[in-house]
């Protein structure tokens, strides 16, 4: 299966080179989408000799993932792996995810939600969103907000994603339930380099409202 790794990046000059280096060990085609960074992220990524797509302005993680995925599919990707650019995921997990993908459309990963390193607000937010997901879409995903996942190109096209921001993670989970896609879940180790990155409680409220929209929109 021809696999592309899509790495959305925004102001990640400190970690991007390392993430690319590690990811290339497990995935030949790597696409970094620089989402309007103001630091040297695109320059650092280009040094690695991989494909770097550049958003002229910051649009958000969702838009970057969609740009990278569409580019990958146009260039023959049969499977796509999403991995964060801040070094919190270990690319060494990619082969395990792809193995799981052989019997599924999407592979979600989950962090140790009981870990003492995980910020309390994130733990609570995950609990609320996961409960809502179960109620509205009838699926139980342990960690909806983890950005490390793999999916087939066919599944990506089925999802018809529209989110531009961090909502994308919840949208993928919700639409997996909505379109009855086959999914698996794999545990991963996570390193929290920045406690303040990711979704905020305000994002959480927005995601909860969007879940209702995804549930009832066509």
């Amino acid at each position: 299966m021809k696999t592309f790794a899509v790495i959305p990046a925004h102001n990640e000059e400190r970690h991007i080179a390392q993430v690319i280096r590690e990811t290339r060990k497990y995935c030949r085609d790597v696409v970094v989408v620089d989402d309007g960074s103001r630091d040297k992220t695109p320059e650092e990524a280009k040094k690695a000799g991989i494909t770097v797509l550049r958003h002229a302005i910051n649009l958000g993680k969702g838009a970057a993932l969609r740009t990278g995925s569409e580019y990958s599919i146009r260039h023959g990707a049969e499977a796509i792996v999403f991995i964060d650019s801040d070094g919190q995921h270990s690319p060494a997990d990619i082969p395990r995810l792809l193995k799981e993908l052989e019997g599924a459309d999407i592979v979600f990963t989950y962090r140790n939600l009981r870990s003492a390193h995980m910020p309390l607000t994130k733990k609570f937010g995950n609990l609320v969103l996961n409960t809502l997901l179960k109620l509205l879409f009838g699926i139980r995903i342990i960690d909806t907000q983890c950005g490390f996942k793999a999916m087939t190109s066919k599944a990506y096209k089925t999802l018809r994603l529209i989110s531009s921001d961090y909502n994308i993670e919840s949208e993928i989970a919700a639409k997996t339930g909505k379109y009855r896609l086959r999914f698996r879940q794999a545990p991963i180790e996570t390193i929290y380099n920045d406690r303040y990155k990711g979704t905020t409680p305000i994002d959480g409220i927005k995601i909860a409202m969007m879940m209702l929209w995804w549930k009832f929109s066509r």
Partner: protein, 114 residues
């Protein structure tokens, strides 16, 4: 002797008339747009001078005062303006996003094809 609120209404009408005329001269408004705002200002001025013109409406709507009519009208306008602004912002956001994403892919593909 006119009430203070009537004077305020007239000043407001004159200001709207002046502002819309200014935009028309700057070519930011078309003649139709200026006509619309001029008509709005004229109507507002007329009602300010002859508030009795509103009596049939106020009576039919069972409103206690003419001012209540303007307050309700003001709220309706605010809600409509919020809705309109929201729609425009959403539309612009979507178009900017599509453009930026398209540019990112096309730029890279052009580079590859060189």
């Amino acid at each position: 002797m006119p009430l203070g609120i009537q004077v305020l209404g007239l000043v407001f009408s004159a200001f709207i008339l002046y502002l819309s005329f200014l935009y028309y001269k700057k070519k930011e408004f078309t003649l139709t747009e200026w006509g619309f705002w001029a008509l709005f200002a004229a109507l507002f001025a007329t009602v300010s001078i002859f508030p009795g013109l509103l009596d049939p409406i106020v009576t039919n709507l069972n409103l206690g005062r003419k001012l209540d009519f303007f307050i309700i009208l003001g709220f309706m306008f605010l809600i409509a303006a919020t809705f309109y602004t929201y729609r425009i912002t959403r539309h612009t956001d979507k178009r900017v996003e599509e453009l930026v994403r398209k540019m990112a892919i096309e730029r890279e593909e052009k580079k590859r094809n060189k």
